[in-house]
């Protein structure tokens, strides 16, 4: 008997159909993954299995059987019995999913007591046992800590511990590693694989094909509420039958997507020397030096807290270093008057991870660009025309000028942010995780755009990312940061092919990899 038998699931919110006829079966002990971009309906499908689609949703299905019982007839009471005991649910963001006012031990004990798995007197021991099971070191001390005192990886483990507390038959994990660093992600994936080995069925929801490739037996690829392709993981990834799956696979940032890059011969535009910055006794940047030439891309890679964003702010002159100096085009930030600094700023521009937050919410795209053009010294008379040209340059329709950024898609917003950054004709663009918040297909387009702009305009990029694939695809040289220091630097191909520093090796080993796609001719023959 299948654990989950779902057919003809339809979910709509108002007039918008989020899921249109999805069927899914999960056998006991099987690991199934649903992969898709935002808005594909993958999370809504998972939530329907828990009866958690929310009041605004209209949900219908031909069949929904959980462990042989007809879930279509379930009332709230029966759903509550299923949640936690038969099906455990792990959300993406452990910080908001855990109660900030309760130690994690209490949080994990709650389902145990609620579903009367163990008597109250034994719940403490059971919590420790669960924490050991999910690989939390020093479980006794950790159980007494609050979510904000734990690292992202430990929080995610605690959340998984509470989801498996009642030993469910199925564990649903919605983007369980998206917010995590790559080395921590590898640990969580191993943990999920262990649960599977212990006999728990898994339903993984992810936008990242490489992540699910490691754990899942079967993959469903969703788009616009429809399953476009499904099959064994190896087959789907190696011989994708549907056009969309192929696009998704091709869009994954990696070395193979590198464009031919001309050799860099331009003059030095940024020179950073021995930068040190301490915040309240914590050293964020500790002796960082690098240089960047016109037309070159330097990839700055590291995990969260490695100091890469602080380094960027020092280069941008938004934060003053304790010691060390940054020169833009040979002019150092320090020792300039306020007016001279402002004049220098337009030579180095920035593109953020969250473009929406970087736009004044009252401004239309035209006003955003107008302000940037004015800052670059463009006379009022020509700004109107230039704003349209800038949008065309980044591949947007000039008709979008009158829109507000919040009415644009994520990819369009990031293009507007790039257009704004280019408006004052800068020599350097600092890109701080510019594609991390975007869907993989949009990511590929934005990276392509940045590469094209660099060739056309000869602008230099300081490209910050935690994603090694992205760095590998876009950079000429790479600097690997850890604990405020650059542990290794050099030509990106050399560093990634034969890393010298232990940390670089560790990072590279942790990256989930897609199996090599088989050549189509090989399949045909």
């Amino acid at each position: 008997m299948s654990l989950i038998e779902l057919s003809g699931l339809e979910v709509s919110f108002g007039d918008v159909a989020a899921v249109r006829g999805v069927s899914l079966t999960i056998e006991p002990g099987e690991a199934v993954a649903i992969v898709g971009e935002s808005g594909s309906g993958k999370s809504v499908t998972a939530r329907a299995l828990l009866g958690l689609t929310g009041d605004g949703a209209r949900v219908t299905a031909k069949t929904l059987r959980i462990d042989g019982r007809d879930a279509l007839a379930f009332g709230e009471k029966q759903w509550r019995e299923v949640r936690g005991t038969r099906i455990g649910y792990v959300l993406q963001d452990a910080l908001v999913s855990l109660d900030p006012l309760r130690p994690i031990g209490k949080e994990i004990a709650e389902p145990l007591l609620l579903h009367r798995v163990v008597p109250r007197s034994e719940s403490g021991d059971k919590v420790l046992e669960l924490l050991v099971k999910v690989g939390v070191p020093e479980p006794g001390a950790r159980a007494a800590q609050y979510p904000h005192e734990l690292s992202g990886g430990l929080r995610q483990r605690a959340l998984i511990a509470s989801a498996i507390a009642c030993d469910p038959d199925l564990l649903i994990a919605d983007e369980p590693t998206t917010a995590l660093d790559v080395t921590v992600q590898a640990q969580i994936l191993r943990l999920l694989a262990e649960r599977k080995a212990a006999g728990t069925a898994l339903l993984l929801i992810s936008h990242d094909l490489a992540v699910v490739a490691e754990v899942a037996d079967r993959v469903l690829v969703m788009r616009d509420g429809i399953v476009v392709e499904q099959g064994p993981t190896g087959t789907v990834l190696a011989e994708p039958a549907h056009e969309y799956t192929r696009t998704l696979l091709a869009a994954v940032p990696r070395a193979e997507n590198r464009a031919e890059r001309p050799p860099v011969e331009g003059p030095v535009v940024i020179e950073a020397r021995d930068l040190v910055k301490t915040f309240k006794g914590r050293t964020a940047v500790d002796g960082v030096s690098f240089e960047l030439r016109a037309g070159e891309t330097l990839g700055l890679v590291g995990e969260s807290g490695s100091g890469k964003t602080t380094a960027a702010r020092l280069v941008l002159g938004l934060t003053e270093p304790d010691t060390g100096r940054v020169e833009i085009d040979g002019r150092p930030w320090d020792g300039l008057s306020r007016t001279e600094r402002r004049e220098l700023r337009r030579h180095i521009q920035v593109v953020y991870q969250d473009p929406l937050g970087s736009f004044d919410p009252r401004f239309t795209v035209r006003r955003v660009l107008d302000e940037a053009l004015a800052a670059g010294g463009e006379p009022r008379t020509s700004r109107r025309a230039r704003a349209g040209e800038l949008l065309e340059l980044v591949g947007l329709d000039p008709a979008l000028l009158e829109r507000r950024p919040r009415h644009l898609s994520g990819g369009q917003r990031q293009r507007v942010a790039i257009a704004r950054a280019l408006a004052p004709k800068p020599r350097v663009l600092v890109c701080d995780e510019p594609v991390s918040a975007l869907d993989v297909s949009v990511q590929a387009q934005v990276l392509e755009l940045l590469a094209r702009l660099q060739l056309e305009l000869g602008v230099a990029y300081l490209f910050i990312s935690h994603h090694l694939g992205v760095i590998h695809q876009v950079s000429d040289r790479v600097a690997v940061m850890k604990d405020g220091r650059i542990v290794e630097t050099g030509d990106v191909r050399e560093v990634f092919a034969s890393p010298r520093a232990d940390y670089t090796r560790e990072l590279l080993a942790a990256v989930p990899r897609l199996p090599e796609p088989r050549l189509r001719e090989e399949i045909a023959s």
């Binding site: 009041d55 219908t60 299905a61 938004l318 402002r342 970087s358």
Partner: protein, 280 residues
Amino acid sequence: MTAVALAPPRRRRALRPGVWGASLFVGLVVVAAVVPGLLTSGNPGAADAVSALQGPGADHLLGTDANGRDLLTRIVYGARPSLLAGLGATGLAVLVGSALGLVAGLGGRFADETTMRLVEVLQSLPTLLLALLVFTIAGPGTLNSIFAIALYLMPSYARLVRVQSKLIGRSGYVEAATSLGLGRIAIVVRHVLPNAFVPLLVLATIEVGLTIVAASSLSFLGFGPKPPAPEWGAMLSAGRDYFAVAWWVAVFPGLAISLTVLSITVVGRHLQRRLEGRPS
């Protein structure tokens, strides 16, 4: 095939006739305040001892007061001082409050501490005591009651603007503007002020209603405009003495106050939903 609904469909949001009605009433009050002659042809001061304390009827739609003056006419003419007090006090409080809030929010530690301590001293004084203090020093009257109410409203506005400007000062778009090389003053004028103002305006709109009540209360206590000038609070106060024999003398001015405040609050809440529901 059995397609079963697992969750009820969302109920469509009904059109809100309440907001329309409230807007209409606010419009009516504004017309009464600006051109009272449009709504009534009578004279608010015309006393007629013969028809004193007449009930609502054909001659006098809402009845007459103890001096035989037409209540409807007086209520229409009373809109101006009430609205003036409400808008004046709120406007003054917004102006002074946002100036202090900006100084505190963007002016550095010393400016912040000084302004906020001053604001706290004001807030620690009981409201009525503060008003009485103003009247003792400056005497009663419309202008002074505006001043007293503004003094009471100002601290919360200053606090709101302070927090808003601090938040916006750290926002991505202010940093983006800094990176473009914009000067501090340009950033404050173009980005901080307008965005800090949105929640302030919403709060102020809602509180205009409360301000009208406050102004009427002060007139009720005898600190407002001098009789026989028509003013809702003063009319309510005068009607108190005849309540047992002529309920309309107090009820209609009271109703005018309540409906105006209610309408303004409804419109204000509507604005709040419209303006604050957006990401900023």
